[in-house]
């Protein structure tokens, strides 16, 4: 039973990441009708915001290690630590959460620039061409990151206070031995918050209402004299921020490298499609569903019955869902079907 609870938590955690990426993708599909193959790259950029923040905070005074003679070796002492002592150390310790200050404006900027500078010229072009251009962009972003940060993963630990495990068992009235890392719980809470915020924004603000109306019927809304386009540009920015935050918060779980966006790209498309094109609720639902199923399929008891099931579960679920429900779980008719 403990094992099941833990796997459920694992699944929710993974699902949180999937859902956040898929949410952004669906926003872009739904509003702009653009297939954004660079969305994984946005996730990766977010993660590198955390890396950058860490690098900034740990700008160090280099104290040469004289025992090494053939090349320059240093013991690095961050300036913050020298100047501010314990406060400085704490700031460095919190570099991942602090990176929010960098991630939100930076990703918003990236999103707006991307939409105005490139994507807007592809609204009327075929999906195949959208794929090609955004894929090209993803490669370019990726290679730039590689040339700056290298190809090796970069460790970005969570703050010390939350690096341990929480006694989840005690919280929910289960027995002993049910521990789960704080940071993963935080990630789960964080993803739920962001999802909630996006939905609330779309549902309860005038801006959101117009966007939702535009998603349903762009022309009519346009005829009403509302500048739909400007709002959609902002939506693109929001989608970029959501993907970026998902990536930034994921860094303590997955040390980021330049390629991580591609690894998530295919999966996030599967999530979006299983959820159903154009449905934000569907994207979130499918994200959590696939995350949880992936966790359960990896259990030894399951693998003993069907060897290798954990390798294919996501795709298998996609096939089954699309056979039973032609437009995914909650898809709308006519979106990206042609």
């Amino acid at each position: 039973m403990d094992a099941l609870v833990l796997q459920a938590l694992n699944g929710l955690d993974k699902g949180g990441a999937y859902a956040l990426i898929a949410l952004g993708l669906t926003l872009i599909f739904g509003t702009l009708g653009v297939v954004n193959f660079a969305h994984g790259a946005l996730f990766m950029l977010g993660a590198f915001c955390a890396v950058t923040m860490q690098k900034i905070l740990t700008l160090s005074k280099q104290i040469e290690d004289t025992s090494v003679t053939f090349f320059k070796a240093f013991k690095e002492v961050p300036y913050l630590e020298i100047w501010l002592g314990d406060t400085g150390r704490m700031l460095i310790d919190y570099s991942v959460p602090i990176a929010i200050l960098l991630t939100i404006p930076f990703m918003l900027l990236v999103g707006l620039v991307m939409e105005r500078g490139l994507v807007q010229f592809f609204y009327k072009r075929s999906h195949a061409e959208q794929i090609l251009v955004t894929f090209g962009l993803a490669i370019v972003i990726q290679e730039i990151i590689k040339s700056v940060f290298g190809a090796n993963p970069i460790p970005t630990p969570a703050p010390d206070v939350v690096s341990g495990s929480a006694d989840v068992g005690a919280w929910i009235g289960f027995g002993d031995g049910l521990y789960y890392p704080y940071w993963r719980l935080i990630y789960l809470g964080f993803s739920l918050t962001i999802i909630g915020a996006v939905f609330a924004f779309l549902r309860f603000t005038t801006f959101g209402m117009v966007v939702r109306a535009g998603m349903q019927d762009r022309e009519t809304v346009g005829l009403l004299g509302i500048d739909v386009q400007r709002r959609f540009t902002i939506v693109f920015g929001i989608a970029a921020v959501v993907a970026g935050l998902a990536g930034m918060m994921y860094t303590p779980i997955l040390p980021p490298d330049y390629h991580m966006g591609m690894d998530f790209l295919v999966l996030s498309f599967v999530v979006v499609v299983v959820g159903g094109m154009g449905s934000l609720e569907g994207a979130v639902l499918a994200g959590f569903l696939l995350g949880i199923l992936q966790s359960f399929a990896s259990m030894n008891e399951v693998k003993a019955i069907i060897p290798g099931i954990d390798q294919i579960i996501v795709y298998l679920v996609a096939v089954v869902v699309l056979q039973v429900r032609p437009r995914g779980l909650l898809g709308r008719r006519g979106v990206m079907e042609g």
């Binding site: 195949a128 061409e129 993803a138 370019v140 795709y315 096939v319 042609g338």
Partner: protein, 388 residues
Amino acid sequence: MSAATVDTLRRGNAAASVPAGDTASSRSDHIKFAVFAIAVLTMPVWLSPIGAGYPDLVQKFAIFGIFAIGFNILFGLTGYLSFGHAAFLGVGSYAAVWSFKLLTMNVVPAMIFGVLASGVFALLIGYVSLRRTGIYFSILTLAFAQMSYNLAYSVLTPITNGETGLQLALHDPRVLDGPAEAGLPTTTLFGMETIGYPGFYVCAVMLIVAYYVAMRITRSPFGMTLRAIKSNQNRMNYTGFNTRPYTLAAFVISGMYAGLAGSLMAVVDPLAGAERMQWTASGEVVLMTILGGTGTLLGPVLGAGIIKYFENIFSAFNDQVLGRIFDFLPEVLQNLMVTLVHPFVGEGWHLTLGVVFMLIVIFLPGGVMEGIGRISARISRSRSNRSS
């Protein structure tokens, strides 16, 4: 169903997409075909100056040309975007290598098995996937291909030899060949070795055949039906015309092309690896087709050539090579050029590829073929200006 309606539909769409009259287009087709055949067969000669005339790369050009032509039969004609075509390539390779291992080193059975195996595989996957359209179809094909890849890499290792790839071994049975001599045998076409340039000519002939078949399919009533499906499947369905058999046929044919390409990879180099089925490989053929020009006959071949050229030649430029290229410049300029170009070649070849993708799709929506079209239009315009 009303045959007349369908006929009108077909004709209407065909007229829209085939500009010239029947006879004229057939003659120009045959001229184009002849030029294509000659160009393909002489590739080792005219590609040498740009460093691409060596056997392995011309083989790759021909093989991926076939792959892309086949992909275009599905995508270019019907508009169905498969994101899992690499699975058929992989199956073709595995079938061919198994034919080499169990039966004979002759390449003919290997190709036949490769094509058949991938045809059957495509029939199964196509049957399920074609129940959906648009992105739902794309994701279904992607899912099947990824399942094939993941399983081939891990639990199916007894059949696929996993990470290392399926290779020939000394103790393979090869029942039709009799006992092997010392060392591994090479692939043959009835006694003639098919590695190096002979291997290329096998691939080149298959490419020419593949091109011809694709040309005939495109011009046939079947091809027109496919294009009609692309322009408006719903309309066709409403008239009671069942499009499924047509799309399925296109899917299987294009899967068999991929199988042929896969088996040729094994013919020139008897090894089959699981990576051939990964989504990146499926994505590559999509990119090749769009880059070259979707729906054109020649475009996909050009797209395949461009991507393979980048992968094999650009990735090999290191500072030493760059220094040699810019040797004619004064030293300061030479160093400057090397520094400027450096990020785009060698380990940076991906960057160049990404930039090329973006530039082409931004400025030439119809891919390289549109570029060629524009240039030739300009030439003929200036010519007609001069004559008048």
